[in-house]
Amino acid sequence: MRRIAKLATNPVAIALVASLALAGCASKKTPNSAADLGLGGAGAATPGSAQDFTVNVGDRIFFDTDSTSIRADAQGILARQAQWLNKYSQYAIVVEGHADERGTREYNLALGARRAAATRDYLVGRGVAANRIRTISYGKERPVAVCDDISCWSQNRRAVTTLGGAGS
């Protein structure tokens, strides 16, 4: 899902990805709308708004199977997140950790927690005050992509940075 992560800076491209997802897997997948992904609608977001963060910075990073390491492509996103969060310091932050469904429920809760902590630690390392950040794990209970193969699992292994405690 590197693709979505990169394209997330461009609202037009996001809409394109969403429509491709619709066409490509109507029969077996629940397509992700831009809204499902928390990307908001196209258009200019007010700088410093939650929409600005989600659309122009990118609110989520993805992980490899069973891994809690911050990938190279995720480091760029988290660096941008930290920069933005340091600029708009009025926001409390909740980092949600998620796992794919290819694990057992309790272990995946712990895995999601470890992903959230790794993401938090990276942001703190980039200057975001630790006391602004709360973490929560949803394990495999809140997938964004629903299908029975790796195309979905890779989207579900994620950490989502949310502002003001709003859920994703």
Binding site: R105, S137, P143
Partner: protein, 438 residues
Amino acid sequence: MKHLLKSIMLMGALAAGMSAVATLPARALVEINVNKGTVEPLPIAITDFLSGDGIGAEISSIVAADLKRSGLFAPIDKGAFIEKISNPDASPRFEDWKVINAQALVTGRVTQEADGRLRAQFRLWDTFAGQQLVGEQFFSSKANSRRVAHIIADAIYERLTGEKGYFDTRIAFVDESGAKTQRKRRLAIMDQDGANVRYLSDGRSIAMTPRFSPSRQEITYMSYESGQPQVYLLQIETGQRELVGNFPGMTFAPRFSPDGQRVIMSLLRDDGNSNIFSMDLRSRTTTRLTNSSAIDTSPSYSPDGSKIVFTSDRGGRPQIYVMGADGSGQTRISFGEGTYSTPVWSPRGDLIAFTKQSGGQFQIGVMKTDGSGERILTSGFQQEGPTWAPNGRVLMFFREAAGSGGPRLYSIDLTGRNEQAIPTANFASDPAWSPLLE
């Protein structure tokens, strides 16, 4: 549950020239052997219990369904019966039952007492020995007629196999409804055969991993209701809930100790790893049992309370470990290919059930408590979370077939050959088998 427990009384063997159960030679007609190549279910004739209305036939059909699902009994089609039982207190014509190969025969009667209670009497006969094996009666309110049937099925199972039954039990589980991305997860409870479903939480927040107290009508579970996932206790009958402990972070994966006095669970550390703690429910003191920079979770006590089996990825990937109840001597016991999680100690103490992931499949299996003798009972796309029947002979778990949209509950016996779907209205997961009801 208490009011109900008191209303059912075991009256012992019936009079009228019948031998008491205890004086009969203990000849098990059914041998439970988990290593046997094939298990031939015992042909058994279960007649409609006599009653003025349909209640007698209803109770005997529940008895027959319980015994059939165990895989150890083959109830004979009532259409094949020759003798019509008109007096269940008199000896049946054994020849009539032998001729249709009924090894055992169940007769009974249900009447209503002056106070409105049901009186259910039944007799179990060994047709080839030509003698009664069990004769008992129970009283209950009409609303509890299903329980009476399960108790009778347990009595038959116990007399014919020599092992305790598991039919008068309940299952706590998670009822799942709605789209997968916004799935509603509610705690629910039902009889082991899927009847009498009752909801224990409203579904406004995610609730999961319910586990029964071994000694009280109480479950421990994890819920997001405070915003942070935390472990709670719930009194099943009153609905009263309380938080377990006052921990700063997420608590999860709870289970009771065998004496019901402690809850053991995982606590998230600030560094993102998880360790195992126990909490004494009376003194409220907590004890740290593991301290690794790893995920330690899914702890489960041995039935004597001396040991704990758990999952840890301290070796890189999730594997099964055993330690003393005080955290001493932590030792890895799973060494097969793949990863292992959700270990659960058998109530008999002899085996550990687990979920294994290997070759892209999820498997439910059992191993001895030292990790040897691994046997896979079922393999599939996605299945996990075994829970033991109180007699340690049957496991229940949840399975999601590829493309099915959600999980369902299944039971499987230790031979791996008798698998049964448990009917639920919605998708269902996280089954937890209760002890035998009292």
